[in-house]
Structures are given as structure tokens and as C-alpha cells.
């Protein structure tokens, strides 16, 4: 099965808003967040057995987080990128722990760095950051320079340091 046929097949799954082929052997599926477990379970039973990773992108201007699931099928030799958007203020998404157990680690990581809650994941405790009390650091509105000034007490020494070049 090539990526065109696969994209057409996935288009009919409930909750899918678009499904397109791209590059040589990839498909890109956009779906609603609540439909993720159903869609991913459909993809898994259709050969996409390998979960490469889960990640989040902060689209701050649109007020949304995008969750991206990268899957690979050893049967069809195809890659699937599944994207779902969640609201930035009420960041909730269903957990896919029952499909891939290692998703536990990815979801815990995303919760820590973006503040997205995964309903159904029992362990979302802090993992990488020790004693972190600030806003989640991979959000676009987290200013690293302002944070280090505040946390480590950087003093303005009056010296003109190299500024970022305007390109």
C-alpha cells in the first residue's frame, strides 16, 4: 500500500478532519484531540505498530497547542504524522497509554514542559526538572533570559554586550 491509498483509507475514520500524502512515504493526518485514541488504535491495527515519539508545538498566536504523534509501519514502510490541536487555556488530551506503554514517558515529559494534561495517565509527576516552580519552560511565552535574571540574580553591569544581529 502506498501513501496515497493509506491517506484515503484514514480519511474516513471518525474525528479526522484531513488526511494527506506528503514527501515520498509519509501521510499527515489532522484530527480532533478527543478522537486520538480511536484514530491511533485504528492506525496501530492497520500496521502502524511503531510509535516514534510524541511531541507538542506551542502555536501561541493561535492560542493552541499542537500534539504530534509520529508513527511508522514496518509492514507498509510508511510514516504517519498525526496532529491534533488543543486549546492553550484548557490544555487537555486523552492519554494513549493503553496503546503504547512507553507513551507514559512522553506524556509525562510533555506535561512537564508544556503543561498539557493527559486524562487517563496516572503518573504526571515532575520528571526532568527538579523543584521547578515556574511556568512550563518549553512554552513560547517562557523567557529564558528573564528567568535567569530572576533566578540567578544577574546584574546589569552597564557593558554593551553583543546584541543579536538583525537579519
Amino acid at each position: 500500500m502506498n501513501n496515497r491509498e493509506m491517506a484515503v483509507l484514514v480519511e474516513n475514520v471518525p474525528g479526522v478532519s484531513s488526511s494527506e500524502e506528503r514527501y515520498d512515504n509519509q501521510i499527515e493526518v489532522r484530527a480532533d484531540a478527543f478522537a486520538l485514541p480511536g484514530l491511533l488504535s485504528y492506525l496501530k491495527s492497520n500496521g502502524f505498530a511503531h510509535l516514534s515519539n510524541i511531541l507538542a508545538v506551542d502555536w501561541i498566536e493561535e492560542g493552541e497547542f499542537e500534539l504530534v504523534y509520529n508513527l511508522f509501519s514496518y509492514v507498509h514502510k510508511l510514516h504517519a504524522t498525526v496532529k491534533a490541536r488543543v486549546d492553550r487555556e484548557i490544555a487537555h488530551a486523552p492519554s494513549i497509554l493503553t496503546l503504547w506503554p512507553q507513551a507514559q514517558v512522553y506524556e509525562r515529559e510533555i506535561h512537564e514542559f508544556f503543561g498539557i494534561l493527559f486524562d487517563g495517565n496516572p503518573n504526571l509527576e515532575p520528571f526532568f526538572l527538579h523543584n521547578w516552580q515556574d511556568s512550563p519552560p518549553l512554552r513560547k511565552d517562557f523567557d529564558t533570559e528573564e528567568y535567569s535574571r530572576r533566578a540567578y540574580g544577574m546584574i546589569d553591569d552597564g557593558v554593551e554586550h553583543a546584541k543579536e544581529q538583525s537579519i
Binding site: Y23, N25, Q26, A49, H50, L51, S52, N53, L55, V57, D58, V68, N70, F72, Y74, K77, H79, T81, W100, P101, Q102, Q104, V105, F127, F128, L129, H130, P137, L138, F142, T144, I167
Partner: protein, 384 residues
């Protein structure tokens, strides 16, 4: 009052797990640990009863840093995600950018990338096999293999100017062409490496102590491994045929014939060690094949001023088969001079942070380092 020593009880104490439960910090400062990562083990006697991964001490915020640097500046940052095998990072990042830009790089560049990737794999396997020996007190293996690895680093230095972090690939190809006389020297080095293999067999892979220690450690079945996201030699050692170079080809791999050595599919630490050993031999032959087919022509597309590089809006995922399996880069561009988001998929995350909860309980403390070395758990690629 005189105390009489009850020898029967004492032997019983040292033999079985009658010590009270205690907590053992395995790492961050432990010679068997690569990088400042650790496991907090609950131990009774010398048997592990519970485990908690303790990442974070190595976390440098790479993904946040990458959003603040120009497309090209990131190239000096990303090899640092994997110290032993840095080239897959560069190639995966560049391939993702080339996919977004819709570029097809010159044939020669593809072959040069392939050769450096495979050299990096050789260097990493030597380190891996040596570390496996060192975890069992067989330091001779470590010293001898590291000295073999050094001959490869010399070649890297000649080609790229650096021994460890080569920063050699860039979007559109590679930074400079292969110098005159380099390929001849590479072939000589490969002959020398190949002639040492019987010695490694005698020292490590036919060593009865090694075989006894490795048998049965961390067994994995193929279904389990696929369902958990285990990749690379660890997955192939379970008998499952999967290789990114064949399944999702990049660089010059579509033009090459890639061997698929089979270690018998045992799925335990011994099978994984043998798998690496067989792939080491196959990699040497693959480099020879690539050198034989090396075409002429350009080694890089001219993309204008690299510091003013702009990548069109879009996103792409690119995966590369590193010595530990699939290294993946998901790159998002909003059309600016910097990446909007870069996410790295480290190959050892499923083993290092998830599988440990299943494998380590019930194991002896002595076997943890062997388990880590056999699965090639490299903390910098998930604690990044």
C-alpha cells in the same frame, strides 16, 4: 557476656536477601553510567525490588536552545546530543530541513554522508563492545577497542577538522569535499580493523565468563520490543527484521546493498552483543562498497549565505539509523531565520526510561551496568 557468633545465621544473611530494604543511587556518579543520569534502586540484599529513573541532572534544554539560534548555528549544538555517535543527529536535522525546502542533494554528498555515518557507527560499536567488556571487569577489551576507535577518529579529523563533534553536514550537502588520499587511508584502516576481529572474538565473544554473564539478562520478545518502541540492533536481536536504512531510506542507502546479519533472535543481552559484533563486520563491508561506488561531482548545493538561510513554512520528520537505532528529528519552521520547534527522538528513551521498570526488578545490582551496556542506553539522547 560473651557473644557467640551464629555462623549458620551469618551465612544465611550474606547468602540471601535478609538485609533490610535500602535505597541505592545507581548514578549519577558511577563509572558504569554514561553521563549524569541515574536510577534510584530499592534493594534487598543484592536483589533489586524497585526502580525509579532519575533524569534531569543532564538536562541542558537543547530543544529550547535550538529555537533561539539560527538554522545553521544549531549544527554546532546538535552533535552534542549523542557523544559517541554524533553524525546521525546532523544528518537527521539536515534531512528534515531538506525535506521542508524540497531539496535533492548531489549524489556525491549522499555518498559522503553515508560513509561518515557508517564510520561513526563503527566507532560507536567499538565503544559499545568495549564498554560491555569493561562492565564485566574486562578492561583489556575497552582499552584495545578504544585504540582501534582512535584510528577512525584520526580519519574524521583529517576529513572534518574535528575528532568527536564533526559538524560536517549542512543543509544541501557536506561542508567540504573528501581530501586527496583520504579514501585510500580509509580502506587501509578498514583492513586493519577487520584483521582485529578474530582477536575481539577470542577476548570477548568466545569468552566463557562473558557468555555466562550475558545469557538471560534483559530478555525481550519481538512483539514486546516493537510495541515498546525499541529500535536498532536491540530490535534486530529479537529476530525482527527492521532497519531504517532499508525501510525508510535516506542518503545513499537506496543505492547500496545492506546486509542483515542475524544473531539467532535470542533477544537477551548475549544476542544483542552478538548482533552488534556481526553488524560491525557488515558495516566494514558496507563502507568498502560505498567507497567503490563513490561518484564525482558537487559535494554541496550552493544555497547562498548560510547565515541568512530561511526555511519555508512547514514541518518534517526525518529518521536516521544510528548505532542505537532510530534517531528522529521533527523540525517545524514558521518561515523565519530560526526553527520554530525542533523535537528530538532519542533511540534509548524506551529502554532507559520505560523498560527499566520491567527489567530491573528482580535483577542483581551487578547486572544493572551490563543491562545498560547491552541495550546501549545512552542517557544524553533522552535527558537533553
Amino acid at each position: 557476656m560473651t557473644t557467640t557468633l551464629d555462623f549458620a545465621e551469618l551465612t544465611e544473611l550474606t547468602r540471601t536477601d535478609k538485609y533490610v530494604q535500602y535505597e541505592l543511587f545507581f548514578g549519577p556518579n558511577f563509572p558504569g553510567m554514561h553521563g549524569n543520569f541515574g536510577y534510584i534502586l530499592d534493594v534487598a540484599g543484592s536483589t533489586i525490588t524497585g526502580v525509579r529513573a532519575n533524569p534531569g541532572l543532564l538536562h541542558r534544554g537543547f530543544e529550547k536552545l535550538m529555537e533561539q539560534k539560527l538554522w545553521l548555528q544549531n549544527l554546532s549544538l546538535i552533535p552534542r546530543i549523542c557523544v559517541v555517535d554524533p553524525d546521525p543527529n546532523e544528518v537527521a536535522y539536515c534531512t528534515a530541513i531538506e525535506r521542508i525546502m524540497g531539496l535533492e542533494i548531489p549524489e556525491r554528498a549522499k555518498y559522503i554522508r553515508t560513509i561518515t555515518l557508517e564510520m561513526s557507527r563503527l566507532a560507536s560499536y567499538l565503544m559499545g563492545m568495549g564498554a560491555l567488556g569493561a562492565m564485566m571487569g574486562l578492561y583489556t577489551a575497552m582499552y584495545r577497542m578504544i585504540s582501534d576507535r582512535d584510528t577512525l577518529l584520526d580519519l574524521f579529523e583529517w576529513l572534518t577538522g574535528a575528532r568527536i563533534y564533526h559538524i560536517y553536514n549542512m543543509p544541501g550537502g557536506v561542508r567540504r569535499d573528501i581530501p586527496e588520499g583520504w579514501t585510500e587511508r580509509l580502506l587501509q584502516t578498514l583492513d586493519a580493523l577487520e584483521s582485529n576481529i578474530p582477536e575481539w572474538d577470542r577476548l570477548v565473544f568466545e569468552n566463557p565468563i562473558v557468555i555466562k554473564r550475558l545469557t538471560g539478562i534483559g530478555p525481550l520478545s519481538a512483539d514486546e520490543a516493537v510495541g515498546m518502541g525499541i529500535v536498532g540492533p536491540n530490535l534486530r536481536a529479537t529476530g525482527f527484521k527492521a532497519d531504517v536504512r532499508i525501510d525508510d531510506p535516506y542518503a545513499a542507502y537506496p543505492y547500496l546493498e545492506i546486509e542483515r546479519p542475524d544473531a539467532g533472535g535470542g533477544g537477551d543481552a548475549l544476542a544483542r552483543a552478538v548482533q552488534i559484533r556481526l553488524e560491525y563486520e557488515a558495516t566494514i563491508r558496507l563502507i568498502r562498497q560505498a567507497v567503490r561506488q563513490l561518484p564525482g561531482g558537487d559535494y554541496r548545493l550552493k544555497l547562498g549565505n548560510p547565515l541568512r538561510m530561511i526555511v519555508p513554512k512547514g514541518d518534517a520528520y526525518a529518521r536516521v539509523e544510528s548505532s542505537k537505532g532510530e534517531f528522529g528529528y521533527y523540525v517545524v519552521s514558521d518561515g523565519g531565520v530560526k526553527p520554530y520547534r525542533v523535537s528530538v527522538r532519542g533511540p534509548s528513551l524506551p529502554a532507559g526510561l520505560y523498560l527499566c521498570n520491567k527489567h530491573l526488578p528482580g535483577m542483581l545490582i551487578d547486572d544493572v551496568a551490563i543491562w545498560m551496556a547491552s541495550l546501549a542506553v545512552c542517557p544524553p539522547d533522552f535527558d537533553k
